[in-house]
Subunit: 198 residues, 2 copies
Amino acid sequence: MSKRRYEGEQTKKHIVDKAKILFSQKGYVSTSIQDICAATGCSKGNLYYHFKSKEDLFLCLAEQNFTEWSEQWEKISSEYESITEKLYAYGDFIADIERPLHSIEREFISTVGLDSEAGQKLFAIINISFEKFKKFMSEGIAAGELKNENLFELTFIVSSFYSGLSRYSNLMDKDARKALFHKATTLLLQGIGTRNEK
Amino acid sequence: MSKRRYEGEQTKKHIVDKAKILFSQKGYVSTSIQDICAATGCSKGNLYYHFKSKEDLFLCLAEQNFTEWSEQWEKISSEYESITEKLYAYGDFIADIERPLHSIEREFISTVGLDSEAGQKLFAIINISFEKFKKFMSEGIAAGELKNENLFELTFIVSSFYSGLSRYSNLMDKDARKALFHKATTLLLQGIGTRNEK
DNA sequence: TTTATTAGACCGAACGGTCTGTTTATAAGG
DNA sequence: CCTTATAAACAGACCGTTCGGTCTAATAAA
């Protein structure tokens, strides 16, 4: 039972990985099951053996994406001392991701409906990562490195900032992206940092 | 010949207006021609009498959107003196738009292909507005109100900033959005303004 | 034999787009 | 002033294609 099971897990993972790339490239609706089958080399029947629907596949993949993001985040957080350094590292990290999935999350929600089961599931996943980011921001405030603004607003603005950047910079090559994110972080920090008041 | 012509223009405008809302709500691919027909009350034949394809309709609507945006922009620019005031007014203006179309532009391009005729047309439209924004930024630098950063990078970062914000805040009500954009502009300016150096 | 896996023919629905036919306001001719 | 020709404006049946999803049969490890 073990070798077969292992192979099954492998194909499942393979499908998730390829689908993530396709979804990020073409969007949720425009990426068809057939596209994913062609990219993975597996059959439609096989795909539907592992995932019960297209929505299910996307949610699996979103969750995996979130988990990876979360682990990276913890790693960055532990490697640097100051919030400033962490923020630069964060910028560098997301500049490094060539196909961010969060561009597609909105499309998914508006397609399946915010109130649907799938919509709520994705919303929950997004919310967890937002809360993590919020906690991170609050530490920055507590440490006196960030201005003592309304926590929700501050988190929202900063995360939107990076999301917007990564969304619109995906045509650049990686080096240009990294440089851009570095500059962006500098500009952001000089606004947020307490060193420069009013 | 005049009344009929007038009516034709009216329906065309009506289709564009409704389609703009639908596209911004549901995305380009997810909005079907039938959806637009149902929303406008016009028939499919009529729609295809006025527009030669779905792409053509979207491009018309994008161009109209750009024109309106441009006019508003000129108005704001002329009403205020300092770049700071203009930036607040700009934030207020785009917070007021409940369904920004620029969330969909990327989807359109990735659907039709960047190298396709339609993709290039939209790209040109976007570029023009980006150039306008760049010119605006350069005036801010020349006036000494904005830091003398690389003009392209600065423009890119600032416009991404507002795009990201409007993209992720469209679930809020208008007042909350305006407050958020005001706060965001403040944070942005304190990073960009020359008053607070290093 | 049993059971996890894989393949692909197949289905109804919905898609963008076409085609043919009908209505209607205007211009011309008597 | 009335008729008739014309073209703009509109309606909706229809077409080929593709979509997400199902189902049955085959395969191969245990």
